[in-house]
Amino acid sequence: MTDAVMAPERRPGRFSGFVRWFVSDLRGAFSLTFLVALFVISVLGPWISPYAPAAQDLDAALATMSTQHWLGADDLGRDTLSRLIYGGMASLYASFLAVTIAVLIGVPVGILAGYLGGWVDAVISRIIDSFLSFPAIVLAIAVTGALGIGLTNGMISVGIVFAPQLARLVRARTLVVRNELYVDAARCFGGSTKRILWRHVLPNAIQPVIVQVTLLLAAALLAEASLSFLGLGIQPPDPSWGGMLARAYQNMEIAPEQMYPPGLAILFTALAFNTLGESLRVALDPTMKRN
């Protein structure tokens, strides 16, 4: 199906090649479009949202869909669509913050453990194991307790909780890559350890991380929702998808439709991250492309 697209006889530039590939992958293109749209809507939130996110209109409490409130209103009469738009920003910020922290800690730690081996590896691996033996959300709650309640602190703690997963993944890949002949060859050329790690080990060990990162973005989104649901994440009256879901849950019996907007937003965003991850993995691996 992709043959016609994949068979240009001249190699195009990296970027146009990437675009070309993307067009051939509709699922990936759709996910990317969805996420870009989500991002744009979140950034434009203050200008496009019909109401202020915290504006209460108790006459409209638990209103169903109408021309006034497209997606209804919550138990305090706050417009669901507006809160969804503002909450999107908070949720995206939260997921990216958590995953960035996880990558910044996990990848270097994993590479060092895998490449240096010996006692460094033994110590790091035991620490990773002990981190992994805690349920993630419990650990996040504990870290939030230490750092203080709030979205940023909550997501930093989620990032710390995710880091060992990445570290372990990177370590395992590094163990394989460091024994590759091209690493030996680079050593023979007199390449420094730093150079070998940067040019050879990292690019070849990072591939599963790209996929894992998108999975973690989805997981972080859910973690944000859980923490906010538990009241440890974003604080009222600021909106977030998790917080909205928690609020809607309390009124489930009176207005069940209130759960759908934040729930579906979380679902679709998580799905889009996952799909995009799969597409990226294929797109970034030169050996997966045909001649």
Partner: protein, 342 residues
């Protein structure tokens, strides 16, 4: 350059002294004696062939020669210098002169780097020139080894095995090394292109005054291009001498058996040579046989072979052998055990 190469030729550009390389076994209780006492020298400008079966320690030896593996005991001298004694910076500079080309041309290239990026990597490490001049130089070298400039921006998986091996050769050449260790460099290639690649090696040697250490299990390859040949068995050298001598008049029973295993392009009833079939497998390098390690498979074995390790002695000028009973006239005669194959 060539004058500088000659001044140390008396002690050899590579000198291996009582080399032993041991690895712990998986359970940690014993050691694999991959290299168990080797002494030889490689002279500047020659092609030094090393033959052996799989499991004879050839690959370990090749890696040790270019300092990818440290000797457990003994020394490997590079032009009189022991690289182990150098500081990190000096060592990184020093090792550029001693390069290796691996058996698997594919695994030796980073799959995520374009061909040209791989080829200019040594220049980049040396900090030579700017990006454009390195690229120009890389393309020059690629063309020298017979690759079109179009290959430069491709990725390794888009080239054939033979082309990839040429890329590996080109990459090493950018360093202008003194010694290149070739570890089974044509074993993974189609027979049809082996000849081309071997000829390329010969041309480059003439052009750049290279010293080769050619490691292979294929005696036809090694006898073709080598000046001298060393025969390894289970981590030790069995015989070492001028290529023609070793091939035409082997002194060790093992060398004779190896040579007789070469296929001859004649119908069986026309073949003059008998094939000597070695019994059994190569023994384990964890517990090599006592005395002479070849004794368990040797057609000329005597009681003395189990008791005494044969000396590594000169039987003829420049022709050494490790066998109690070998003489300048040849290996000891077979016992009745020698089998004949049709």
């Amino acid at each position: 350059m060539s004058s500088a190469q000659n001044h140390n030729s008396d002690r050899g550009i590579l000198a291996v002294r009582n080399l032993r390389i041991l690895f712990p076994t998986r359970d940690g209780r014993d050691t694999v004696k991959a290299i168990d006492g080797m002494d030889f020298e490689v002279r500047s400008g020659e092609t030094f062939g090393i033959i052996g079966e799989s499991g004879s320690g050839k690959t370990t030896l090749g890696r040790a020669l270019v300092s990818l593996l440290p000797p457990t005991h003994g020394q490997i001298l590079h032009d009189g210098t022991d690289p182990v004694t150098l500081g990190t910076g000096a060592f990184r500079k020093h090792r550029r002169d001693y390069q290796i080309i691996f058996q698997d041309p594919n695994a030796a290239l980073n799959p995520r780097m374009t061909i040209i990026d791989s080829v200019v990597e040594p220049l980049e490490i040396m900090g030579q020139g700017d990006h454009a001049s390195r690229r120009r130089r890389g393309i020059e070298v690629l063309e020298r080894v017979g690759l079109a400039a179009e290959a430069a921006d491709r990725y390794p998986h888009q080239l054939s095995g033979g082309q990839k091996q040429r890329v590996n050769i080109a990459r090493v050449l950018t360093l202008r090394p003194k010694v290149i260790v070739c570890d089974e460099v044509v074993a993974a290639l189609d027979v049809s292109i082996r000849g081309d690649v071997l000829n390329l090696f010969a041309d480059l040697q003439r052009e750049f005054g290279l010293t080769y250490v050619f490691i292979t299990h294929d005696i036809s390859v090694v006898s073709h291009i080598s000046d001298r040949i060393a025969v390894t068995y289970l981590g030790k050298l069995m015989e070492l001498g001028p290529a023609e001598d070793v091939v035409e008049h082997p002194l060790h029973p093992y060398t004779r058996a190896l040579l007789s295993a070469e296929p001859v392009p004649l119908p069986s009833h026309l073949r003059v040579d008998r094939r000597i079939i070695l019994e059994g497998e190569i023994p384990s390098p964890v517990e090599p046989p006592s005395g002479c390690r070849f004794r368990t498979r040797c057609p000329s074995v005597q009681p003395r072979c189990a008791k005494e390790v044969p000396a590594w002695r000169d039987v003829k000028p420049g022709h050494r052998v490790a066998c109690h009973f070998a003489t300048a006239n040849g290996p000891p005669p077979d016992n009745q055990k020698a089998q004949r194959a049709s």
